[in-house]
Symmetry: C2
Subunit: 102 residues, 2 copies
C-alpha cells in the first residue's frame, strides 16, 4: 500500500456517478471503477448508499428485475457540487505548494 490511500470518499464518488443518471448498486461499482480507478467493495457501497438515502441526498426508485436503482436529489447535487468546488480549490493550492517544494 502507498502511504496514503487514493482519493476515494465513497459518498462523493457515488453522487458524482449518479449525476450521470440513475444507477443501481452494481452499476455504480463498475462506473466508479472507470471514473476514479477505485473498486468499492459491496460492504462499502451499500452502506454508503443507505447513509445517502437516509440524508436524502439520493432517493430509491422502484425496483426493476433484481435492481434497486437510485437517483440523485437536488440536495445531493448541491452537496456534491459544493464539495467538489471546495476540493478543487484545496487540491490546486496543495499542488502549487508541492511544485515549489525542493
Amino acid at each position: 500500500m502507498d502511504g496514503l490511500g487514493r482519493f476515494a470518499e465513497p459518498s462523493v464518488l457515488i453522487l458524482a456517478s449518479l449525476a450521470d443518471g440513475p444507477k443501481h448498486g452494481y452499476a455504480l461499482i463498475k462506473d466508479i471503477e472507470e471514473l476514479a480507478g477505485t473498486t468499492l467493495g459491496p460492504g462499502t457501497l451499500y452502506a454508503a448508499l443507505a447513509r445517502l438515502e437516509q440524508r436524502q441526498l439520493i432517493e430509491a426508485l422502484p425496483e426493476q428485475d433484481r435492481r434497486r436503482p437510485y437517483r440523485i436529489t437536488p440536495a445531493g447535487a448541491q452537496a456534491v457540487r459544493s464539495y467538489l468546488e471546495d476540493a478543487r480549490r484545496v487540491v490546486a493550492a496543495g499542488l502549487k505548494r508541492l511544485a515549489a517544494f525542493a
Copy 2:
C-alpha cells in the same frame, strides 16, 4: 451542516501544509484554516501527526521553546503528490458530470 462534510482529510491537509516548510502543530492548525477553511481540533491534528510520523511521511525536528515542529519527508511529498493528482482527475470528472446535470 451541509449534507457532506467539506474536503478535509486531515493527513492530506497536513502534508500539503508542510510542503511549505516545517511547522509545529499549532501553526498547522492556523495554516490549514487559511489553506482549506477548516479548523482541525487538537484531537484530530495530533492523532494525525502521530500516524504520519509512524508511517514516515513526516519526521519530527528537535523541540524548540514549547514547539514540536515536523518536516515532510520525500516519501510524504511523493504520497501527497500522487494523492492530489489523482484527486484532481476525479474532481474534474465529477464537476464535468455535474455541469451536464439538468
